[in-house]
Each structure stands twice: as structure tokens, then as C-alpha cells.
């Protein structure tokens, strides 16, 4: 049944969204959107290196993302530039380096648009296996470090004082980010990975009354966006990545309408937060 390219894309996309949602919540909570952007832009450099060294693309992207996040943490510690300037520098130099490298590789014929905006045609059964195995591993690890990671998100000092080792949780989180970016690249493309991480989480925020609930909703909203976006992409012959992001945006906007208010009443036990009155 996975012979159909469209079905393969759907299965792969939903798999990615289910992982991206919970992780995206932490990106929203910790205000790491720009950090996510930096990593995903660096993914293109990973693609170039994969062609150059003739290694697996997903693996290469993962390695580059990990290297960039370690580099970033090191540079931040030295504190010579502000965080956002550093991120901008790394994001765009990695993207530019990737593009220049790819241009030099004149002997390989690659579809650059596919890497930038996602390419549903490129999803193979092997990709699906990688996405689901990697995704399951990411979710399992995330569940394992959930408490220290969430406590450190609320207050690093509190988590540290009460013996939760937030630094280890943060380091593992970086690892998970790199994994998810490597997994999502084929579906939404380098330029829009952060959107897949952030928009479902932002939409879920309006519906959720607890962090765990928000993570689940973000996963579901992301999956819906993938399904809607891919059908739209097929129907209107648009690139898959942008179509998925547009669908996610539509869901986010839907959450702000009376429909969202209704859903909220339905999902939160206290009638939409408050409760203090």
C-alpha cells in the first residue's frame, strides 16, 4: 500500500508532525524560535556535505545541526556577541555555505527547491522507517527527560536546587532538536522546519490548560496540518512544505475564532483558565 507516493508522504509527514509538536512546545516556551531557524538553515550545509562525502543525508544533517548547537553554546558562553546576533550570523552563514557548496558540486544533479521547500516525491519507504524509528526514539527520550526539562523551562535554578540536573536535560534537548530537524527536512524543507515546530504549538497553547496537554494537542494539530497541507499540495500543485505551513497557519487562525473558544470550553475543565475569580 506504500507504493503510492502520496500515501508515503502522508505517513511520513504525520510521523514528523507527531514528534515536532511536543518538541515545538519547548521551543515556544523557551523562546528558541530563532535557534530552531539557525539549526534548520544549517541543515542545507548538511545536505551539501552529504553529497560531498557521499554519506546518508539525514545522518549528515543531524551531525551538522549538532555541531552548530554545540558551537553556539560555546560562543554564547564566551559572550562576545549577543545571542540573537550570533544566531543570525550562524543561521545565514550556514545557509549560504550550504548553497555555495552545492553550487560547487556541479557533478551532482540535485533539486535544490526540494531541499528548501520539501519534496513529497522524494519520500521513500526507507525514509518512513527512519522517521518512525527516529521519531519513536525522540519521543521516548523526551518522555524520559520531561520532568527535568520542563522544570528547567520554568526555572533553571529551581530545577538545579531541587536536584534535577537541568544542564543534562538541556543538552539532551539539543540532541533531540537536531534529530527532529534532520527528520523533518524532506517533508517541509529547510526553510520551514521551524514553522512546523512552532505553529502547531502556538495553536495548541490556546486550547491547553497544562503542559502535557499542550504537547499532545500540538502533535495532533501538526498531524492535521500535514494532512491538510499535503492534500492541498496535491490538489493545487504547490510545494509540500509551504502548503503544510499554510494549513498549520489556518488551524492557528481557526483557534482564534469563536470555534476556538468553543473548543477551549470543551477541553479545559475550568472554562478557559482563570478560575481565580
Amino acid at each position: 500500500m506504500l507504493d503510492d507516493f502520496f500515501l508515503r508522504a502522508l505517513v511520513a509527514g504525520v510521523g514528523v508532525a507527531l514528534v515536532a509538536g511536543p518538541l515545538g512546545c519547548f521551543i515556544v516556551w523557551r523562546r528558541l524560535a530563532y535557534f530552531g531557524d539557525t539549526l534548520s538553515h544549517a541543515a542545507l550545509l548538511g545536505v551539501a556535505l552529504a553529497f560531498l562525502l557521499e554519506v546518508n543525508i539525514t545522518l549528515s544533517v543531524f551531525a551538522v545541526c549538532l555541531a552548530i548547537s554545540i558551537l553556539l553554546m560555546g560562543l554564547q558562553r564566551r559572550g562576545s556577541l549577543s545571542s540573537d546576533a550570533l544566531l543570525g550570523l550562524l543561521a545565514h552563514s550556514a545557509l549560504a555555505l550550504g548553497l555555495v557548496c552545492l553550487a560547487f558540486l556541479s557533478w551532482v544533479r540535485i533539486d535544490l527547491m526540494g531541499f528548501l521547500f520539501g519534496d513529497i516525491l522524494a519520500v521513500s519507504v526507507f525514509d518512513i522507517a527512519v522517521i518512525y524509528a527516529g521519531g519513536a526514539a525522540v519521543l521516548a527520550v523526551l518522555a524520559f527527560i520531561w520532568r527535568p526539562l520542563f522544570a528547567a523551562t520554568v526555572s533553571r535554578e529551581l530545577a538545579e536546587a531541587e536536584g534535577l540536573n537541568p544542564d543534562a536535560a538541556n543538552a539532551v534537548f539539543m540532541l533531540l532538536m537536531a534529530t527532529v530537524i534532520a527528520l523533518s527536512m524532506k517533508i517541509v524543507g529547510v526553510l520551514l522546519i521551524t514553522a512546523l515546530l512552532i505553529i502547531p504549538a502556538a495553536a495548541a497553547r490556546r486550547l491547553a490548560s497544562g503542559p502535557e496537554q499542550m504537547a499532545v494537542y500540538a502533535a495532533l494539530i501538526g498531524a492535521l496540518a500535514v494532512i491538510g497541507g499535503l492534500f492541498g499540495s496535491l490538489r493545487f500543485d504547490t510545494p509540500s512544505g509551504p502548503s503544510i505551513v499554510v494549513a498549520a497557519l489556518a488551524l492557528f487562525l481557526l483557534g482564534m475564532t469563536p470555534v476556538g473558544a468553543l473548543l477551549r470550553r470543551f477541553t479545559t475543565p475550568h472554562g478557559g483558565g482563570g478560575g481565580a475569580r
Binding site: 520554568v154 535554578e157 536546587a161
Partner: protein
């Protein structure tokens, strides 16, 4: 006092946490330096001092959040800590109810969260989102979270900030009661001198270094303390009786009740815990040492 005395009597028991000459250096200056403090089971130790005097920094070194750049910090192995930080901002993107906040750093037995919230007077807010709480309500929830863990060591950094006047004393009474119930050690940071003086076993007065230290009545009488807190100090002082068991002589040495004279009165030598007074102008200050 009796619990603390008992804790002191069992001198064999190691303290929960101990700072030895600890100091933290940041951005070209010492935030605090030369801090010696111990908190034993059943004891309330309070840090007082003006803004920027290193109270929170000292507490963070004791907690292990900040590693001292000089000196050392020791914590008892397996120490269970409850911490109320001075500042905690909850981002609006975080959907966090009071109930979830209670379980932030570890699971709680059934009913423990409710019981603790009841005691701090905010049980009715259990389902409320944290960002909708008032400053005082949030402080109460944070205190409830810390005590619900049944910790060995409670570290409370200005735990009653934003709490209304009548609520303050009730919360301090609660803190004393918790100490008696759990037998935990408490490291308290407070601005409220009256409370510090009435509910504390041991006071450490900071101003970038340890200015004076000892039982509340003794510290209240010291010149260094008077200098730091001025008129307010006298008002607080009037409430307390004095037991002088040793005197700081004009040359900086200390004469104890038994007639012996020593060069210093170190917090660990035991003399301080029975209260002492400083002779005018010769309080246990050590400005010169850290100037």
C-alpha cells in the same frame, strides 16, 4: 529554639549544608566573599542585609546553583531541598496550573499538594493558571510547593514578598511549624527584622561579606547591625531580651562567659549560639579583611 538546641547538642550529626569561606566572583567583582554558614536539622538560619549584599548569592552557593569561586560548599548526600526563589517569571506561553506547579520537580503523594496549599491559604486556587495569580497568591503557592515535598532543607528567599501584612506573620508561623513537624533545616532570607528576630535561631548579617553573626538578640545588639539597619534595628531590638555570655573586647578579642579569651568568635565555635553582645565599636566586623 529547643529543636535547634537539640540539633546543636547532637554535634556528631553533620550539618545539612555548610559554606566555608565561600565567595562568588562575577564580572570583575566579588558579589560576596568569606561566607561561613551551616544549617543543621531543625534549625532556622536567617540571612539579612541590604540589597546587593549577597544574600541570594550565598543561598545559591549553599544550594549548589552557583559554584563558589573560592572556599567550598558542602551538602549532605541525598539532601532533599525545597526552594522558593526570589524571582520566578512564568511566561504566558506556559500553560501551568497551580496543581501542576506543585509537581514541578517531583511527584507528590496523594493529598500532599492539597494539604500544603490549604496551609498556605490558597487551596481554592488549585486549578487556576499560575500567571493569573496575584503576587501574594503566587508566593503562597510557591511556599506550598516547597513544603509539600517534605524537604530536609528549605531555602526561602524572601518567601512573603507581596503577601499582605496580616498574612505575613501567619506564613512565618507556618514556617516555624513546618520546621517543628519535619525537623528540617531552614535557610531564610528576609527583610523583615521583627520576624527575623523572633523566629530565627541564628542570624547572619551580610554586606558583601559576613558582618556579624550569632543568635538574633546578639546580632541585634552589634554595632555592625546597627550601622546597616539604623533606626529600624532599634525598634526590632526592643522586642528581645539579651543573654550576654561573651563580650567583644575593644581589641577585637572575645571574652566568654567562662572567662576565657579568644581571638575570634567563629560561628562554629559554639559560643554564638547562646547569644552574645558586642562591646561598643568592637563588633565582630571584618571590613578590613575584604576592603
Amino acid at each position: 529554639m529547643t529543636l535547634a538546641a537539640a540539633a546543636r547538642a547532637g554535634a556528631g550529626a553533620p550539618p545539612l549544608v555548610r559554606l566555608e569561606n565561600a565567595g562568588l566572583y562575577r564580572d570583575g567583582r566579588w558579589l560576596v566573599r568569606g561566607v561561613d554558614l551551616t544549617v543543621a536539622r531543625g534549625e532556622i538560619v536567617t540571612l539579612i542585609g541590604p540589597n546587593g549584599s549577597g544574600k541570594s548569592t550565598s543561598a545559591k552557593m549553599a544550594l549548589g546553583i552557583a559554584r563558589p569561586d573560592e572556599g567550598a560548599a558542602h551538602r549532605a548526600p541525598g539532601l532533599k531541598v525545597g526552594y522558593v526563589p526570589q524571582k520566578l517569571a512564568i511566561d504566558w506561553t506556559l500553560p501551568l496550573t497551580v496543581d501542576r506547579l506543585m509537581r514541578l520537580t517531583g511527584p507528590l503523594p496523594a493529598g500532599a499538594a492539597h494539604e500544603a496549599l490549604e496551609r498556605t491559604g490558597v487551596a481554592h486556587l488549585v486549578g487556576a493558571e499560575v500567571r493569573h495569580l496575584s503576587g501574594g497568591e503566587f508566593q503562597r503557592a510557591l511556599l506550598a510547593r516547597a513544603i509539600a515535598r517534605k524537604p530536609d532543607l528549605l531555602v526561602l528567599d524572601e518567601p512573603v514578598q507581596g503577601v499582605d501584612f496580616s498574612g505575613e506573620s501567619a506564613l512565618y508561623e507556618l514556617i516555624s511549624a513546618i520546621r517543628a513537624e519535619l525537623g528540617c533545616g531552614i535557610l531564610l532570607i528576609s527583610h523583615d527584622l521583627h520576624v527575623v528576630m523572633s523566629a530565627t535561631d541564628h542570624v547572619i548579617c551580610l554586606n558583601g561579606h559576613v558582618c556579624c553573626t550569632g543568635a538574633p538578640s546578639a546580632v541585634a545588639g552589634s554595632a555592625a547591625y546597627q550601622q546597616l539597619f539604623g533606626g529600624r534595628a532599634n525598634a526590632a531590638l526592643a522586642v528581645y531580651e539579651h543573654h550576654h555570655d561573651h563580650v567583644h573586647l575593644a581589641d577585637g578579642r572575645v571574652r566568654h562567659a567562662d572567662g576565657s579569651i579568644t581571638d575570634h568568635c567563629h560561628p562554629a565555635d559554639g559560643h554564638h549560639h547562646h547569644g552574645h553582645a558586642h562591646a561598643e565599636g568592637a563588633a565582630e566586623t571584618d571590613e578590613a579583611g575584604h576592603a
